[in-house]
């Protein structure tokens, strides 16, 4: 390990300890209990050894000593068990509470980072840090304390006790035992390469399965079954080959350890017996040594076994910390103001923006919107219509220029206050895993049921909700799977209706909504837009034509702006786009002749 890696490991450990620090009493408790447990655990065999020494031969047994020792053994064992149990309890609470705190902080971070970070990272990866990596840290802590700490204490104490009883036999054990560590290290090295290969192939097979089982219907449609079976068996055969190797290598650990233990036992027996013959130790002491020899090798194996786990805990902690180190968005300034209502005048002044700085996206863009005006944003698929929404709502900040609401720069307004001025209905209708009522009242949790019902009525979703068996208390399942896309969008509309914000940002759905729901959504949109400044990402010609200003976007840029008639007479991109659509409605498209 290079020095640098070592020092980052050290700082990672330091940071983990920082999260542990609120639970210092439990941690210290765990350590004290561990030491007590180990000490008593090692005392018991000594007492047993003494007891055996008082059992010498026929007609020669010191019963009172044996009785006394038996009682002592009983007490020692009982106390030992209690300390072990207490250690377990302390370790549990330290590790589980630390994990809880780390998770809590990660979740806080999700809300604190700029949206850019969340957009730019796969959510699966972020969640895996929350779930798996945090767990790895917890496991690492638990193992670190129980196995590593008590293991080391155990090794040291055993060594001390053995040296006290007999130096020569102790030396024999000390010399032979590390063999098992070498064996373990050797096996780990051998198997690690195979393990990596195996987990890579396992990943390969998982993604193949996910892809081909997930799209079975396409496989069926193209009669691709045999080819895919062939591919699958090929990957599977590779998995089998490296699986067999890695399993074999890793399963070597136990028998090899047993073998080393066997040698230690034999050596202790031989040396111990010879010493006993020459009278330097007693038979009872041989029994102590035999127990110790076993006990002495065990923590070595545990310590070597725990190292990969600690490594993965460190790796997990690194991933967690790199998320936690992410810079939060700039906090609201001291002098930023609350704005509780507005007329809805918006001035976009000379803004420049880009997601990735060298690549320009929006350059020197100006737009002045009077209260109550409707702005349609149009353009082909993937032209970046959401960019404007991101800027208006301050999900992203402009690089230069300014956006003003009623003459106040949005950068002077507190974020939450600014966002409460907008009502947003996106095409991807996000609902949370709660009741329909809670979802509608999302922006106004104290709303009465009557208010919720009124909003639902305005959004034309009331009759649907009332027909559900649990009505407004129906729970929306994950990502709203039990509702159709149209119904979800209507719920989102009701959610906005309830807050009745002065400015609207709407995203028309492109497809997959049945016609009747579609009619309801249009009607709801129309009602909502009345008298409110509205930005609408539009797909329908009728919506576009009725807008006061049309922004035409292409490849992330705003390339044209103006009213429908102005843009038509200009004969630019909008004109072409419109005519391609108009071709459809005027029937110029050639129809196949049969």
């Amino acid at each position: 390990m290079s020095n640098q890696a070592k020092s980052t490991d050290q700082s990672t450990v330091k940071r983990i300890l920082h999260y542990v620090s609120p639970y210092r009493p439990q941690l210290i408790g765990a350590m004290i209990f561990a030491v007590c447990y180990v000490a008593l655990n090692l005392t018991a065999p000594i007492l047993i050894g003494y007891a055996i020494d008082h059992i010498i031969e026929e007609k020669n047994v010191d019963f009172s000593a044996v009785a006394q020792l038996s009682l002592m053994i009983g007490v020692t064992v009982f106390a030992c068990a209690i300390f072990q149990w207490l250690m377990g309890l302390c370790v549990n609470s330290v590790s589980y509470f630390t994990v809880r705190d780390i998770r809590k902080e990660i979740f806080r971070k999700f809300n604190a980072v700029p949206l850019r970070y969340i957009d730019g990272h796969p959510h699966g990866d972020l969640i895996s840090r929350m779930v798996n990596d945090a767990d790895a840290v917890g496991d690492g802590l638990q193992q670190g304390i129980t196995q590593l700490f008590s293991g080391l204490v155990m090794i040291l104490c055993t060594l001390g006790f053995m040296l006290l009883i007999n130096v020569y036999i102790a030396l024999v054990v000390v010399v032979i035992t590390p063999l098992s560590m070498f064996a373990a290290a050797f096996i780990t090295r051998l198997s690690q390469k195979m393990f990596r290969e195996q987990s890579k192939t396992q990943g390969e097979i998982s993604s193949y399965v996910e892809e081909y089982i997930g799209n079975q219907k396409i496989v069926r449609a193209f009669g691709y079954e045999e080819t895919s079976q062939h591919h699958f068996e090929e990957i599977n055969a590779r998995l089998c080959a490296c699986g067999q190797k890695s399993q074999f290598y890793s399963s070597l650990a136990n028998p090899s350890t047993r073998f080393v233990n066997g040698i230690v036992t034999a050596a202790v027996c031989i040396v111990g017996s010879i010493s006993a013959i020459s009278g330097t130790i007693t038979v009872g002491q041989i029994s102590v040594f035999l127990t110790y020899a076993n006990q002495y090798t065990k923590p070595f194996n545990e310590v070597t076994g725990v190292i990969p786990q600690l490594q993965s805990a460190l790796a997990g902690a690194d991933r967690v910390f790199s998320l936690l180190d992410e810079k939060p968005q700039q906090p609201d300034g001291q002098e930023s103001v609350e704005m509780n209502s507005c007329k809805g005048q918006i001035d976009i002044e000379n803004i420049n923006f880009s997601y990735t700085p060298p690549k320009k996206l929006i350059t020197n863009f100006n737009l002045h919107v009077k209260p109550g005006q409707h702005i349609a944003i149009v353009g082909p698929t993937g032209c970046g219509k959401t960019t404007l929404i991101n800027l208006l709502m301050r999900f992203y900040d402009v690089n230069s220029g300014d956006i003003k609401i009623d003459g106040t720069s949005i950068y002077q307004i507190k974020r939450n206050s600014l966002r409460s001025l907008y009502g947003m209905v996106l095409q991807d209708s996000w609902l949370c895993n709660a009741s329909i009522r809670d979802n509608i009242a999302y922006g106004k949790p104290d709303a009465s049921l009557d208010e919720v019902k009124a909003a639902a009525k305005e959004a034309h979703i009331d009759t649907f909700i009332e027909r559900l068996p649990n009505g407004y208390d129906t729970i929306v399942t994950e990502q709203g799977a039990n509702l159709s896309q149209g119904q979800r969008q209507l719920l989102c509309i009701a959610r906005v209706m309830l807050c009745s914000p002065p400015i609207l940002i709407l995203d028309e759905a492109t497809s997959s909504i049945d016609t009747r729901t579609e009619l309801k959504i249009q009607e709801a949109f129309r009602q909502m837009m009345q008298g409110r400044t509205s930005f609408i990402v539009a797909h329908r010609l009728s919506t576009v034509r009725e807008a006061d200003v049309i922004l035409v976007m292409k490849d992330g840029n705003i390339i044209e702006q103006g009213s429908h008639d102005e843009l038509l007479s200009k004969g630019g991109f909008y004109c072409r786009l419109y005519h391609s659509g108009e071709n459809i409605s005027t029937g110029n498209m050639p129809v196949s002749v049969h």
Binding site: I118, M130, V209, Q244, I270, T515
Partner: protein, 577 residues
């Protein structure tokens, strides 16, 4: 579990040799305490160094032999268990490939994936443990008991009392803690669900300034998770101390009664040491047995899930595998009184009859849940009708071999997905030996050649799994091209142009009608614009065919159709002819 035995047949040798070797190793291990006792009671007692050395040598020899036998066992275990898993996976993948859409719908993709990965891995582990430990661990327990008996029958009573007690404690602790692990998993799922929700809805959360209440919701679940973990930790923390106390109590008893026996001359001190060692062995082996119990409980559950798949027979079965002759002049598709229902959910299609002449273009329109996709899924026989018949080229679809029927039909499904690989590989799905020329033509018709030709690697450009590196519109066009490459007789577009803008959509339809003149095209759509120029339009409403005709006919006579039109177009746009 036992039904899966057939996959072990190939490994009979490993299954016999493996446990046998482990057994021999265990027997050797059991001898060690006996030899120790022998060394002390004979070697030390008689001051015989040679005896000590020779017995010590025996111990080392036994250890080395034991290691060799163990290695043979581990090797057998890895060969048999991994081989077993591989065979089950292959068989399962094959079986899934034979299932029809209804069965796939019933299981759902995530469940199938878990079964073929996690569940089979669990079974594989169980097979490995079966070979490695199932004989060894119980044998060590029983063996230690028997050895204790051979030393002294009365002393072995202590063993007979202590062993069941240890087993009882193990069973109780596990019985209490195992159900909790399920609870913990559920709570962890909840925590990850809330995180996922927060991430996917982060815009909405911020737009409504709900960060704090979301955090409170998270904290609650997170606290519950920690509390549950601590509770189960409290129970499992009992396991080691309790079993330790019982084993040590037994050892105290051995020492105490042993003392009396030695006094009476029935026992030697070295034998007491041996008995103490056997007790320790029993404790360790019992813990292994308890872990085995967990592994096998899980494996039984997995086996049940795996067998559920193997026991599922496909509902759509090939009647014969030899191609049948077709009538060139028969209509491309004909439905006769077709009704269809998904598993006990009422009818999705009711009494539908129509014919589609060869080479015609047909549009199918209707709201969500009106049965459009269901209807087109019956043509390639993804499902079998509940009542009535479907004919393709004059033959009942049930008489065709799958390959012949599906070879005639190009399907573009609703969800546009590509498979990991090059564009070329994806294009060859329908026709293995398609030439570049054929592929380029298909790409041109589907309006995708423009962007494909601009990619640096063109046809060799890589598509990520699902085609995620392409935009929704590009993906849809590529899936259309994929269906066109084999130049099918019937092309089914199941709402496959939804992500295209109006201009591209129009160009696509123009190219389709001009360049595929003999192809029968069936388009499913929610957009009137997409289907209005079809030769024939079928209007579906709640599973019934409520209108058949051209755009103008339907607009005048079909209420449902008129309603759909007016929701999407202005009156004058509809009338504009």
């Amino acid at each position: 579990m036992f039904q899966l035995r057939r996959f072990l047949k190939k490994y009979k040798l490993q299954l016999t040799i493996g446990p046998l070797c482990k057994l021999i190793e265990a027997i050797f291990e059991l001898f060690v305490p006996l030899i120790t006792a022998d060394i002390i009671d004979n070697g030390v007692a008689n001051h015989d160094v040679g005896y000590v050395l020779s017995r010590g040598g025996w111990m080392i020899l036994l250890g080395a032999l034991g290691l060799c036998f163990a290695l043979v066992c581990q090797k057998s275990a890895s060969i048999a268990s991994q081989g077993f898993g591989t065979q089950v996976r292959n068989a399962m993948f094959h079986h899934i490939n034979t299932l029809s859409h209804s069965e796939l719908d019933r299981f759902g993709t995530p469940s199938l994936i878990t079964r073929i990965t996690n569940d089979i891995n669990q079974l594989q582990l169980a097979v490995a443990m079966l070979i490695r430990l199932v004989i060894r661990a119980p044998f060590l327990v029983v063996g230690a008991l028997v050895m204790a008996m051979t030393i002294d029958l009365k002393m072995s009573l202590i063993f007979l009392a202590a062993s069941p007690l240890i087993a009882l404690v193990l069973a109780l602790v596990m019985h209490q803690s195992v159900p909790f692990y399920k609870t913990i998993q559920q709570k962890l799922d909840k925590v990850s669900l809330i995180s996922r929700e927060n991430l996917s809805g982060n815009r909405v959360v911020r737009a409504f300034s709900k960060q704090e209440s979301d955090e409170a919701r998270f904290d609650q679940k997170n606290d519950e998770l920690a509390a549950a973990a601590v509770t189960v930790g409290r129970i499992s923390a009992l396991l080691n101390p309790l079993t330790y106390v019982i084993a040590q109590a037994a050892i105290v008893a051995i020492v105490w009664f042993g003392a009396q026996f030695v006094f009476g001359g029935y026992l030697l001190p070295g034998q007491i040491i041996a008995l103490v060692n056997y007790m320790t062995q029993i404790l360790l082996a019992m813990i292994v047995v308890s872990n085995l119990a967990v592994i096998f409980t899980k494996a039984f559950a997995s086996a049940a899930r795996v067998n559920e798949i193997f026991d599922t027979r496909p509902s759509v079965v090939e009647k014969n595998s030899k191609p049948i002759s077709v009538d060139r002049n028969a209509p491309a598709v004909e439905f006769r009184n077709v009704s269809f229902g998904y598993a006990d959910n009422g009818y999705a299609l009711k009494d539908i009859s129509f014919t589609v002449p060869k080479g015609a273009s047909v549009g199918i329109i209707g709201g969500t849940g009106s049965g459009k996709s269901t209807l087109v899924n019956l043509i390639p026989r993804f499902y079998d009708t509940s009542k009535g018949e479907v004919f393709v080229n004059g033959n009942n679809v049930r008489d065709y071999p799958f390959a012949q029927l599906r070879g005639k039909i190009g399907v573009v499904p609703q969800t546009a997905v590509l498979f990991a690989g090059t564009i070329r590989e994806n294009m060859r799905w329908g026709k293995k030996n398609a030439t570049d020329k054929e592929m380029i033509k298909a790409l041109q018709i589907s309006q995708s050649y423009e962007f494909v030709s601009q990619l640096p690697e063109q046809l060799d450009s890589l598509a990520a799994a699902g085609g995620k590196n392409f935009s929704g519109g590009q993906r849809q066009r590529l899936t259309i091209a994929r269906a066109l490459v084999s130049n099918p007789e019937i092309l089914i577009l199941d709402d496959s142009a939804s992500a295209l803008d109006l201009a591209t959509d129009a160009a696509l339809r123009k190219a389709l009608s001009q360049q595929t003149r003999n192809m029968t095209v069936i388009m499913v759509s929610q957009r009137v614009g997409t289907i209005r120029y079809a030769d024939k339009i079928f209007v579906l409403d709640k599973g019934k065919l409520v209108g058949t005709g051209t755009h103008n006919e339907l607009f005048d006579h079909c209420d449902v159709y008129r309603e759909i039109c007016l929701s999407q177009l202005k009156e004058e746009e509809v009338r504009n002819r």
